[in-house]
């Protein structure tokens, strides 16, 4: 073969080696909304195809990891004719500051949307300081 074709084949090794998953499925980054209220931080993640049994929320030190598994749909005697989306797993991690009370995290899943309520720790809640008259 010519020299040129060999160079073409070598290019694929340029991508850095990352940790691989044992399951051969695609991993998606769910879209999230995060907002802050007076007492809590609310995290909402779009994870279509997951339910309360297939989603995991793990808090390890300061890293909050949300992951979920969606089973691909398959119908007997039907074949896929047109496809715009693929089904796979979801994973995303966030760094959580110390102001979150790690013992009080609530999670619910409804209609493929994960909702986390991260309550703020007592000590960081804003306190109004009473000013005494001199």
């Amino acid at each position: 073969m010519s020299k040129e074709s060999k160079e073409l084949q070598k290019q694929s090794t340029q991508t850095p080696v990352e940790t691989e998953r044992t399951r051969n499925s695609k991993v998606y980054v769910p879209k999230v909304d995060i907002y802050e209220t007076k007492d809590a931080i609310i995290l909402i993640a779009d994870m279509p195809g997951v339910d309360e049994n297939s989603v995991d929320v793990i808090l390890d030190k300061n890293i909050l990891t949300i992951s979920g598994t969606a089973e691909p749909l398959s119908f007997k005697d039907y074949s896929i004719a047109y496809s715009e989306y693929d089904v796979g797993d979801y994973q995303r991690a966030f760094t959580i500051s110390d102001e979150v009370d790690k013992e009080k995290i609530e999670a619910t899943v409804k209609n493929g949307v994960l909702r986390l309520t991260l309550h703020k720790a007592e000590k960081v809640k804003a306190r109004k300081i009473a000013i005494k008259a001199a």
Binding site: K31, V32, D33, I34, Y35, E36, T37, K38, I41, I42, I44, D46, M47, P48, G49, V50, D51, A70, L73, F75, D77, Y78, S79, I80, A81, Y82, S83, E84, Y85, K110, N111, G112, V113
Partner: protein, 147 residues
């Protein structure tokens, strides 16, 4: 002999420019950026069976009451509304990536649908619509008469 080739329509091809075009085409094909297939919302998958079809769509976080699905002839319309979170006074977003608002998607199917028998189910953020083929649209077998 190795000069620019004159094509039938009088167009002169420049081999260097042609190589550049090929290269950019290859870069596009092998680029790591996931090419988005169809930018319309919601993304759909279509499954075809012998007598019917199933359409599935990823629509997370919608109130099933707000769905507006209709079938006329061979046209399927999926409409709905995703409500935004209502933030109170003093609450603020750190990030907002999810989309909300009204959507409407029209699909033309390769056959007429029996609108009375259409079934839709919404589960885990995935909408699934069963579309049976209309009786009058089904293929009819032609019997050949022997003389």
């Amino acid at each position: 002999m190795f000069g620019p080739t004159v094509w039938r329509f009088g167009r002169v091809t420049d081999p260097f420019r042609e190589m550049q075009r090929l290269q950019s085409e290859m870069n596009r094909l092998f680029s790591t950026v996931d090419p988005q297939i169809g930018h319309e919302y919601p993304p759909i998958n279509v499954w075809s069976g012998e007598q019917d079809a199933i359409v599935t769509a990823e629509i997370p976080g919608i109130d099933p009451e707000t769905f507006d699905i209709s079938v006329i002839g061979d046209t399927l319309t999926i409409g709905g509304k995703v409500d935004p979170e209502i933030l109170k006074e003093g609450e603020s977003y750190h990030r907002q990536e999810r989309s909300y608002g009204r959507f409407n998607r029209i699909l033309q199917l390769p056959f007429h649908v029996n609108a009375d028998k259409v079934e839709a189910k919404y589960e885990k953020g995935i909408l699934r619509i069963n579309l049976p083929r209309a009786e009058e649209d089904k293929p009819k077998k032609v019997v050949i008469q022997a003389e």
